[in-house]
Symmetry: C2
Subunit: 457 residues, 2 copies
Amino acid sequence: MQAVLDYLAQNQNRFLEELCAYVRFPSVSAQPQHRGDLLACAEWLVQHCQSIGLKARLCPTAGHPVVIASTPVVPGASAKRPRFLVYGHYDVQPPEPFELWTSPPFEPRLEGRSLFARGATDNKGQNLAHLKAVEAYLKTNTPLPCDITFVLEGEEEVGSKSLGDFLLANQAELACDAIVISDTGMPSKKHPALTYALRGIAAFEVTLHGPARDLHSGIFGGTVDNPAMALCQMLGKLRDKNGRVAIPGFYDQVKPLAAFERKQFARLPYKESDYKKLLGVKQLFGEKGYTPIEQRSARPTLEINGLTSGYQGEGSKTIVPSWARVKITTRLVPDQNPARIIKLVQQHLKKLCPPSIRMEITAGHGAEPYLVSPTSPHAQAALRALKSAFGCEPVIMREGGSIPIVNSFKKILGADALMLGLALPDDNAHSPNEKFDLDCFEKGQVMSAQLWQELSK
Amino acid sequence: MQAVLDYLAQNQNRFLEELCAYVRFPSVSAQPQHRGDLLACAEWLVQHCQSIGLKARLCPTAGHPVVIASTPVVPGASAKRPRFLVYGHYDVQPPEPFELWTSPPFEPRLEGRSLFARGATDNKGQNLAHLKAVEAYLKTNTPLPCDITFVLEGEEEVGSKSLGDFLLANQAELACDAIVISDTGMPSKKHPALTYALRGIAAFEVTLHGPARDLHSGIFGGTVDNPAMALCQMLGKLRDKNGRVAIPGFYDQVKPLAAFERKQFARLPYKESDYKKLLGVKQLFGEKGYTPIEQRSARPTLEINGLTSGYQGEGSKTIVPSWARVKITTRLVPDQNPARIIKLVQQHLKKLCPPSIRMEITAGHGAEPYLVSPTSPHAQAALRALKSAFGCEPVIMREGGSIPIVNSFKKILGADALMLGLALPDDNAHSPNEKFDLDCFEKGQVMSAQLWQELSK
C-alpha cells in the first residue's frame, strides 16, 4: 500500500498536467455545436485509461458516448471477489456568461492551489482522482483487492438520457456491489463528507404566446394581453411569501426530516456571514422554519433559471412582445416523484394561464430524489477511507444537487451509491470561474486508494 | 395647381425608386453600430432636398444630425406670408427579430401596392410624400402660397433627445404658424384621418441583482432569493385583473373622455374579428369599461417590452441567475406628466422590492401626451385637403403612439401640430415586415399639395 501512496505523492505534477488536458475539451453537452468536442474528450479518456493499464472502450449511445474502463481480470480470482463501479461524467455545464470569467473557461489557469476551468470540479477533476488512484495500483503492481469498472458518461448535465438504456444493455458486465461517485461536495477540507441523499429534479420550459408578432405598444398597446406580463403574473404566484412553492400538492410526498438528520445538519460547519459573502448577497431568503443547510439540501424548491421576452438589446423598443419564455427547474426531495411533480406544475400553470394567452409547456429532464442508509458496512468503509485520507473526522450530509443516474444504478444494477464528493463550497460549479482545489484532488486520490482496501475488507 | 397634380401623377415610378433608396439605409437610432448609417442617410436627404430645389443643410447635434430644408425665399413676399414646418424622422426602429422578416428589412420589396422595408411607413415614406409635393410645386414653377421648412430628425425612435435643444437654438429660423406631421395612422384608405391627440410615454429599465454570480440551483437553491422570481412577483403586481395599471396615483391626472370623443370613436371603422386577425390573437385583453379604440388611443397603459435573465440558450442550465432585467414603457394620456409617472413607478417598485434583492432603475425617454382642438381653422383646412386627396369624408381621432416632439414644438415654437398620418393599421410599424402602401404614398403627396393651398387661404 505504501508503494501506491508514494506513487501518488511523486506524480502530482504530471497528474495536474493531465487534468489540464482533460478540462481543455469544451465538452458542453447542452449545446449541439460541441458534439465533436464531447467525442474528442471521450476518445482522449479512452486512450488515457488504456495508458494507465485499464481495458477501455468508447460505447456509442443515442446521445454522447459512454467510456467504460475496467481493471485487468485477475486470473483465478474467486467468484466472490468484490466488484465496484466508479461513475463520473466528462460533460460540463455551458460556460456562459463568458464575460464573467477571469480567464477563458477552457484554458485552465492555476492560482495557488486552485485550478480554474469549466469542468475542473464538476466533474473532471473528481473522476480523474479515482483514475489516478487505480493507476497507482496498476503502475506499482500492487494487487487490487477488488475489480473496478469506470463508467464515464457525457450527458450528466442534460439529464443522463442515454445512460439508463446503456446500463440495461450492459447489465451483466456492470453488475457490482456498490457504485462510487465523487460528484458532490464537502463543507470544507476539514470536513470530508459522505453524502447519503440527493435532491431530484424536474425541468420545464414554458412559452406564452400573445400576438402573432411584436406589436407597436403605442398603436396596439392596451387592447391585447402582454405575454411577458402574463408570464410574470403566473410565475409570481408559484412562490409564497414564506418561500414555499405555491403549487397545490407540491409538498404532499415530502418525507419530514428525521430528528437525527436535523441534529447532524446542525453539526455541519456554517457561518451565516461567510455564507452570505460566498453567495454575494446581503440577505438570505428561503423556506421559513428550516435552516439554510436544510433549505439547500433537504427541502424542495422551484427556481426560474432563465427569462426571455421581447427586446433585450441596448436602448428601448416600444413593443408588446409576441411571446415570453421561462426555464424552470424544481429540486425534489424524498419521496417526491418527478413525473407527478411535472403533472402538478403543468396542471397548475394551465389553471393560471389566462384565456388571452396560448401556453406551450415542455417538460425537460427529471430525476428522482435519492436516499440511502448512512450506517451500512459500505458507508462505514467509506467513512474510514475519508478519515484516513483527510486526517479528520468525516461528516454525513444530504446534498441539494441532483445526480440523476443514482436511481438508475439502484433500479437497474440493484446497487447503492457511495457519494464521496471532493468539491468545496466555493468551487463555483455551474458558475463562472469554476475551480478545483488541488488538495482535494490529491487527497481524493489517497481516499480512493484507501477505499478499495476498506470496501473489500 | 393642375400642373402640380400632373407632375405628381407622372413621376410615381421615380418617386418609388427614391423611396427604395431612402429605406435602404439601416438608420437604427437605438443601436450604436448604426451611427454611420444615420449620418449617411441624413447626407442623402440633404442632397435629395437640394436636388428638388430646397435650400438644405445638415445640422449636427449631440446625437444624430437634423436635416433642415426650406423652400426658396420669395422676393418681396409679405411679412405676413404663412410659414409652416413639416416634421419627419429618418431614423427607424431596430429590425430584430430578423428571422420573422419575409425579406431582409433593408432591402425594399414591392408586392402589389405594398413596399416592404423597415422605415417604409415609419417614417420615411410619409415624410418623402411631403417632399414630393413640394418638389411638384418647385419643378413646375407653381407658386407656393406659403413658406415651408422641413425638419427631419434622426432620434425620434429614441426619444428625440437632441431636437429640443435644436429648436431652442434655431427658434427664430423655425418660427411658424403650424407644424405638419405625417407620422400617425388612418383607419383605412377610405378613412383619411386628422389625429388631434397622442399618448405620451415614459420608459424604464429595471435590473434586480441577486447573488454575485449565477449559482448552482442544486447546491445553493433554497437559501437565496431568485432575482427572476422577485422580478416576476414585482411586475405581476403592476397590472390588476381589470387590465388597469396597479400603481397608486397612476390615474390621478387622467382627463376623463368627453362624450363627443366617445361618440367619434364609436364612428370609426372597427370589426373585432378583423382586429383580432390583424393582431393574431384569439381574445383581446384591455382595461375594463373602455372599447378597444379607446383602450389603444385614449387610455394609459404599462407594457413590458423585454425580459432578460439567466440562461436563454438551448437545453437547460440549472442556476439561480445573478440578475434579471425588464424594459418597461408606460403610455400616457392628458394630463399625465412623464416626470410624475416616472416618480410614481420608481416609488412603487422600491416599495415592492424585497430586502433580499438590490434594485437598479434607469428612467429612459419620456414624452408628454398631446391634445389640440380638432375645430381650429388649421384643422378644418387639413380636413378639406384630406377629403380632396382621398375623395371621402375624413375622420378625427386620437392615436395611441407618441411623437415626443409635438410638445416641444408647442412649447418652444408656440405652434400646434397637424397630424395627418398616412399609415394603415396593417403597416407593421415597429414589427417585422413593415410596409407602406403606395396608394397612401401617392394620395399623401396630393394631400400635401392641396394642404398648402388650404392652409394659406
